[in-house]
């Protein structure tokens, strides 16, 4: 047990949407095996990755999450047969959309984690937390961060120069 948790200046908030059959159980297994992973993630348990609505991710970002993590059963293992296939398509497109909005899609992580993959769960969560920590606070809705108008014009000017 026990790597020591270091509290950083910036601790990202990570919202995880997981299916209850695979990933939630995998995370439980990590607990039963007394593994250790970063505490930044809060999980919302859903019946199936097919229930993960892009709307939830939008809401999570809107509500100040710095990263969103989505996970379900591996293809072929969905408890409901096909839910994760729909989830995959939704996310393929949703990520591209976020990207087009200029939002770093590194902030959304999608992973297949089975009920047995406790180690994978901890690894993926740790890596993702680290990645988001490096990316920093999600700036999407902050009024203060930049004056986007000025910034954009400046960039345009620089380009034309």
């Amino acid at each position: 047990m026990g790597k020591k948790i270091v509290i950083h200046d910036f601790e990202p908030k990570i919202m995880a949407f997981v299916c209850k059959w695979c990933t939630y159980s995998g995370a439980d297994l990590a607990g039963t095996s007394r593994m250790d992973y970063s505490p930044n993630v809060r999980m919302i348990r859903l019946p199936c990755s097919g229930r993960i609505d892009p709307q939830f991710m939008i809401k999570a970002f809107e509500q100040g999450a710095d990263g969103v993590f989505i996970s379900g059963c591996h293809p072929g293992d969905c408890h409901y047969n096909e839910g994760n296939y729909y989830a995959r398509r939704r996310n393929t497109t949703f990520r591209q959309l976020m990207d087009f909005h200029g939002i770093d899609i590194e902030r959304i992580e999608f992973s297949w984690i089975s009920a047995a993959e406790a180690i994978k769960w901890t690894e993926v969560i740790d890596a993702f937390t680290e990645k988001v920590r490096e990316l920093g606070r999600h700036p999407q809705y902050d009024d203060e961060v930049v004056d986007p108008y000025a910034q954009f014009l400046v960039q345009k000017d620089q380009e034309s120069a």
Binding site: Q63, D147, Y149, A150, F152, L153, K156
Partner: protein, 366 residues
């Protein structure tokens, strides 16, 4: 009334001076486009806060897409905050320190629209004063700019205004040729601003040329209606069920664009923005063109059909405002005509009504 002249090329300097005086300055500016020369790109001119005198579009182009209303009647206005603690709730007033603001390059129609909004939000209306509007209003100075090139949608002269009207203005600018502007100081607030611009203002204005210039531009307007018979016709409740409403209005798709761009449309909604146990109550823009705007909890909707919603809009401008506030609810800016995706034209309604009002028999025979 004091007058002066100003070089047109000095407007940028004016803005800088105002900024130096720690004022927030809002001026028309062009917004970036993905592909400025592409076939899809239109010039997007809006009133925006500016940080320097560069790049402003005062006096250029026609009307900015947004009116000035969003600077007085904000798109999103927190009314107060609240926090829940167990069974107790605390209301925390939000501290609004509205910056002293100057809006420069306001067109006469937009300036006139402020008066309409004021009549709704001031305590003259049922004794309730919207403090947010009045507070913002009291801290805002309008520098208006007479129109030089109205477009085919403009019809301010039909609503008792003109391209050089100074109604609602604090400081009024009119082009008088040779790159010079005739400056009129109209109010105290205008005078205060004029003081900041002292170094750029020169001598006396040229009233005669200004009036002549104004008259010339007025000539260019194409849509001209007399609004008086319109109002009379609308007063007759029987006409509320006239066939023209459906005929003209059935193509309206209820997009609400017309109301959002309209400088005098004032409908709003009040909602709570909640987060855990804290939140804000906010006032946000709404529109009478939306179907759920008047929908009752029982499912009954007084304006169940889109044409009825447009009828309400038209009545609001030409009946309700005049009746309640004694000012027309429309300033003839033509924004709704330009914005409407299905080319539903308020002046067509005006024409139709005027026609019916003046030839009542002809219509009956039809």
């Amino acid at each position: 009334m004091k007058t002066a002249t100003l070089n047109k090329s000095d407007i940028g300097k004016c803005i800088d001076l105002l900024l130096q005086a720690d004022l927030r300055v809002i001026a028309p500016r062009l917004q970036p486009q993905v592909d400025e020369d592409g076939p899809d790109a239109l010039e997007v001119l809006t009133f925006t806060e500016v940080k320097s005198g560069e790049g402003h579009q005062v006096g250029k182009g026609l009307l900015p897409l947004n009116g000035v209303k969003e600077f007085l009647f904000a798109k999103h206005e927190p009314l107060f905050a609240y926090e829940k603690r167990g069974k107790k709730i605390e209301i925390i007033p939000v501290h609004h320190e509205y910056p002293q603001t100057v809006i420069i390059g306001v067109r006469p129609c937009d300036a006139a629209s402020i008066a309409s909004l004021e009549s709704v939000f001031s305590d003259a209306n049922a004794g309730f004063e919207d403090p947010f509007f009045t507070e913002r209003r009291s801290r805002t100075t309008f520098i208006t700019y007479s129109c030089t090139a109205p477009d085919s949608s403009c019809f301010c002269t039909s609503v008792e205004l003109s391209p050089d009207s100074a109604k609602g203005s604090d400081l009024h600018l009119t082009e008088i040729g040779d790159g010079r502007l005739h400056v009129e100081v109209i109010t105290k607030a205008g005078e205060a601003v004029a003081k900041q611009l002292q170094e750029l203002l020169k001598g006396e204005g040229d009233q005669a040329t200004r009036e002549k210039a104004g008259a010339e531009v007025t000539e260019k307007l194409t849509r001209i209606r007399d609004s008086a018979p319109i109002m009379d016709w609308l007063m007759d409740t029987a006409n509320f069920d006239d066939e023209m409403w459906q005929r003209l209005g059935e193509k309206c798709i209820g997009c609400g664009a017309c109301t959002f761009v309209c400088p005098t449309c004032h409908c709003f909604d009040i909602v709570d923005e909640n987060k855990g146990s804290k939140g804000y109550r906010v006032k946000i823009w709404d529109s009478c063109q939306f179907d759920h705007f008047t929908l009752h909890a029982s499912g009954h909707n007084p304006r169940d059909w889109q044409y009825k919603r447009y009828r309400n809009r038209f009545n609001c401008k030409f009946k309700i405002y005049p009746e309640k506030f004694e000012t027309p609810g429309c300033v003839g800016c033509g924004r709704c005509i330009r914005a409407c995706p299905v080319n539903l034209d308020i002046t067509e309604y005006m024409a139709e009504v005027a026609h019916k009002a003046t030839n009542p028999n002809a219509i009956k025979a039809e």
